[in-house]
């Protein structure tokens, strides 16, 4: 099999060996550091991440920022569950962006995921993880990881150990055996003597106790909070306008800067005449950066007017002739070359197809914004990025200052979807440079046009399939080759259990920068593979769901979600003329999601997506309402990309610039969506991303059912009606 599991990729570099550790509360030096940094001191602080105040308030310091997925609330549920805390007294705060709060659970989770949870990974002593954590640490929010790794492997364990410490402290005070004590809603009770102690009065002393490294976790049948849907902590501030995002941060005397970088990636700023900008009221300074020009002004509008008045000259690093059509042609040539020797097994017939997926942009609603202030040798940064700690380290490196002299203050971010992961966050360098040369704090805001043109895109990818269908109507061989820029070369694992299957990658070199786009490689490869299997079902004259099931291993989790989505949608029922249904099932981030899309065509030939049914196996669901929202959101983003979205390159530069030429799906285009979670004992999977990948192939397959026309190139736009 050529399909391999791959590491979580950030900016093209695998994080295996990156920031790590098991239970950092095993390391007391780190625990002390963290407690001190949390501004609360050691009193009542458990393993850095949990704090119980004398007022009984339980605060979880989460290493995940609030990107919109609701994980801070769900992590608090997991903590409160194991702690038997009073939900009304739970609170969540962002952990400080300091190494003592590096999220080793996440890195360990990814490593064991990659290594298929090998005994080797588990056998490493906590001290090794802790040591690694000190050298390379992260606070990444990405990879659909918060609950399945940080929550399952970290927060729940810590909370369970904290509960045991509270019980031990109560046993000592009440002078009764710990085995006679029970916990509920923030109280340790002794039924025999009808006495109870509040967590708040036990916490300070309990925090001095050694925490158990392997506390017993609750069984699913005993859950009181996990599996329920308390309201999210962050919602009220997001409906009354008080929530503070990175772009909202203000300091007295602050200036606002905006930037334009070389339109062709790799290009440099050659020259710029500052005079036209300096003539604009409010403009204070034009700064030449290596690859960009920045204008600093009293406010954003003056800065933007100043920027627009400039005529900067940039070099193109030799990429000035690059264009999308030629890139695709080269990718397809490479794929064809890879498959030239394939011959279908004797007695089978060849089914061949070629597909294309374009570069995609993240298009988060909040453009990049970051405030920096350099004063008395110290540099402070405020903003919403997907890895506060990684961002701090980047600022340390770029400023040349010591670790102690730089602080990153995490704020809400208006969407990330992978764009705000470390590796390619140019605004950090820009803000550091501008602030360190300025007597004032400087907030850098990217215009939307800059944000679209300077993206780190989902890779443009072409694939060719040469598959063989046997006389028995089953797949006899599956051979595919895809070509895209290196960095995401491993493709996606194929869900089906086939006698002969191979997928190879032919590298296509390009200067366009690629990155993690929500669901990463599962987006394009889910589209490719799930459309191809549909073509094979069609060639075999088989029902698309029955055909898929016939090619799944007996124990595949995909059976249950396919059955569920067939049941929910009434698969097979007659439909009106011109209406079609398609199916797709994709596994990503440990979760399997099947979707049925029902579609007809609008008068302009665009798809009218009428309904989507989704069935999901993500193991235990922590917050069903939040989980539903994540799957719905993934479907909307998947349909948006499938129907509308495309980044193209001309003369080496990105053509699109804003929502007028990079349109997103609107509310009017959004179908009715029904999401079902199947009962499952599988290990917890992620949910921020897995709802997305099946949407595009299910839609393309539905369009085929409606129009008898295969759409093999994204975006779909009006192709099916052409």
């Amino acid at each position: 099999m050529g399909f391999k599991r791959r590491a979580f990729l950030i900016g093209g570099a695998a994080i295996v060996g990156g920031g790590i550790f098991a239970l950092q509360y095993g390391d007391y030096a780190m625990r002390r550091d963290a407690a001190a940094l949390s501004r609360r001191g050691n009193a009542g602080s458990f393993g850095a991440w949990l704090h119980i105040g004398e007022d009984d308030r339980v605060t979880l310091l989460t290493p995940h920022i609030d990107m919109g997925t609701g994980t801070p609330t769900a992590l608090a549920q997991m903590a409160a569950e194991e702690l038997d805390a009073d939900w009304a007294k739970m609170a969540v705060e962002a952990a400080p962006a300091e190494s003592a709060f590096g999220n080793a659970w996440l890195a360990k989770g990814f490593i064991s995921d990659v290594a298929n949870d090998s005994a080797l990974v588990r056998s490493l002593p906590a001290s090794v993880w802790s040591l690694l954590a000190r050298s390379v640490v992260n606070q990444i929010t990405g990879g659909s990881s918060a609950l399945r790794f940080t929550g399952q492997r970290g927060i729940r364990v810590l909370a369970a150990a904290t509960r045991l410490a509270l019980i031990e402290e109560a046993a000592a005070r009440l002078n009764v055996p710990a085995s006679e004590l029970t916990t509920k809603a923030g109280l340790v009770s002794h039924a025999g003597s009808n006495r109870a102690l509040r967590y708040g009065e036990l916490a300070k002393a309990a925090a001095e106790r050694t925490l158990s490294a392997e506390p017993k976790l609750k069984a699913a049948k005993d859950f009181a909070l996990i599996g329920t849907s308390p309201a999210r902590f962050d919602v009220p501030g997001k409906v009354d306008g008080t929530a503070q995002f990175g772009i909202d941060f203000v300091l007295p005397g602050m200036r606002v800067a905006t930037v334009m970088a070389a339109p062709v990636r790799g290009g440099k700023l050659v020259k710029v005449d500052a005079a036209p900008a300096m003539a604009i009221k409010g403009v204070e300074k034009v700064v030449q950066l290596e690859d960009a020009v920045a204008v600093i002004a009293s406010g954003y509008w003056s800065a933007l007017k100043g920027l627009r008045a400039l005529d900067p000259q940039f070099s193109d690093d030799g990429h000035g002739a690059v264009a999308t059509a030629a890139m695709f042609a080269e990718q397809e040539r490479l794929c064809t070359e890879e498959l030239k020797d394939f011959a279908p097994p004797a007695g089978s017939r060849l089914v061949e197809a070629a597909y294309r997926a374009p570069y995609l942009h993240h298009a988060m609603m909040e453009p990049f914004a970051l405030t920096a202030h350099y004063k008395d040798g110290k540099l402070d940064l405020w903003g919403g990025l997907q890895d506060p700690l990684g961002s701090k380290h980047e600022a340390v490196k770029l400023s040349g200052l010591g670790d102690d002299a730089v602080a990153f203050h995490p704020m809400l971010l208006g969407g990330g979807f992978g764009r705000k992961l470390p590796g390619q966050i140019e605004i950090i360098g820009q803000a550091v440079k501008l602030a360190m040369d300025s007597p004032h704090p400087v907030k850098v805001i990217w215009p939307r046009e800059e944000e679209v043109r300077q993206g780190t895109y989902r890779p443009q990818s072409a694939v060719r399939f040469k598959c063989a269908l046997g006389a028995d109507g089953k797949i006899a061989a599956w051979r595919s080759a895809f070509s895209q820029t290196k960095g995401f070369e491993a493709g996606a694992p194929l869900l089906y259990d086939l006698p002969e299957a191979e997928n190879t990658h032919a590298e296509h070199k390009a200067h366009v920068i690629i990155g993690s786009w929500r669901s990463v490689e599962a987006s394009q490869h889910g589209f490719f593979n799930e459309c191809m299997i549909d073509e094979l079902a069609q060639a075999a004259g088989a029902d698309p769901i029955a055909f898929r099931k016939a090619h799944l291993a007996k124990n595949s989790r995909a059976h249950a979600v396919l059955d569920a989505v067939a049941r929910a949608s009434g698969w097979g029922a007659p439909l009106p003329e011109g209406t079609g249904r398609g199916v797709a099932v994709v596994e990503s981030f440990g979760t399997v999601c099947a979707q049925v899309v029902q579609v007809s065509l609008r008068e302009d030939g665009y798809p009218r997506v009428e309904k989507v049914w989704a069935a999901v196996d993500c193991g235990q669901v922590v917050n069903p309402r939040g989980a539903e929202a994540q799957v719905m959101g993934g479907i909307v983003m998947g349909l948006s990309a499938a129907i509308h979205e495309e980044i193209t390159i001309d003369k080496g530069a990105v053509v699109q610039s804003s929502f007028n030429d990079y349109p997103l799906l609107t509310l009017a285009e959004t179908p009715q969506i029904a999401v079902e979670f199947v009962a499952s004992t599988a290990p917890m999977g992620g949910l921020g991303e897995p709802g997305l990948p099946p949407a595009a192939p299910a839609l393309a397959n539905a369009l085929f059912a409606a129009t008898a026309r295969r759409v093999r190139t994204l975006p779909i736009r009006a192709q099916a009606g052409a």
């Binding site: 919109g68 409906v239 009354d240 409010g282 509008w301 609603m365 909040e366 719905m632 959101g633 009017a668």
Partner: protein
């Protein structure tokens, strides 16, 4: 010369240049950061406010053109006693926001729609709610608008 207008019921005189988009005057001079910058070309609606009761994308109206008018932002929706507007309450009940960045604009658009139509039909909601949301909260936005106007939302399985 300062530009005089009314913002959230209070008379203000703003020093920003008259060609400054209302959005930036609200955010940078008045500190009303609930109104968001999304695109600057009136394509996304994150900056939606009410100008004399009309839903308006504040990135694309100059401060000078708002002179003498009454502007309501997300901060001005709640009652004097702090009670949230019925639409804001519906937003909480339906747990609409994800990242939340577009939601001020979405709520301002929904309030304007309900004020005009009373009980908007599904097609009126589709026609009026053109603000973009990248997190994909549209199904919940529909649910909240219908709930705020005493109507129930349709689900895919029930259609």
């Amino acid at each position: 010369m300062p530009t005089a207008l009314i913002v959230n019921g209070k008379a203000v005189a703003l020093e920003a240049e008259p060609d400054t988009p209302l959005l930036w005057a609200l955010r940078e001079e008045l500190g009303l950061t609930g109104t968001k910058f999304g695109c600057g070309i009136a394509a996304c609606g994150a900056c939606s406010v009410h100008v004399d009761g009309q839903i308006t994308r504040s990135c694309s109206i100059a401060l000078g053109d708002a002179a003498g008018k009454s502007v309501t932002t997300i901060e001005g929706l709640k009652a004097a006693d702090g009670t949230l507007h019925a639409v804001q309450q519906a937003w909480i009940a339906a747990q609409v926001p994800q990242c939340g960045y577009c939601q001020s604009g979405q709520i301002m658009a929904a309030v304007a729609l309900i004020r005009e139509t009373g009980r908007p039909s599904a097609s009126q909601v589709d026609a009026a709610m053109t603000n973009l949301c990248r997190c994909g909260t549209y199904p919940r936005i529909r649910e909240a608008i219908l709930a705020a106007t005493g109507q129930a939302a349709a689900k895919a399985g029930e259609a």
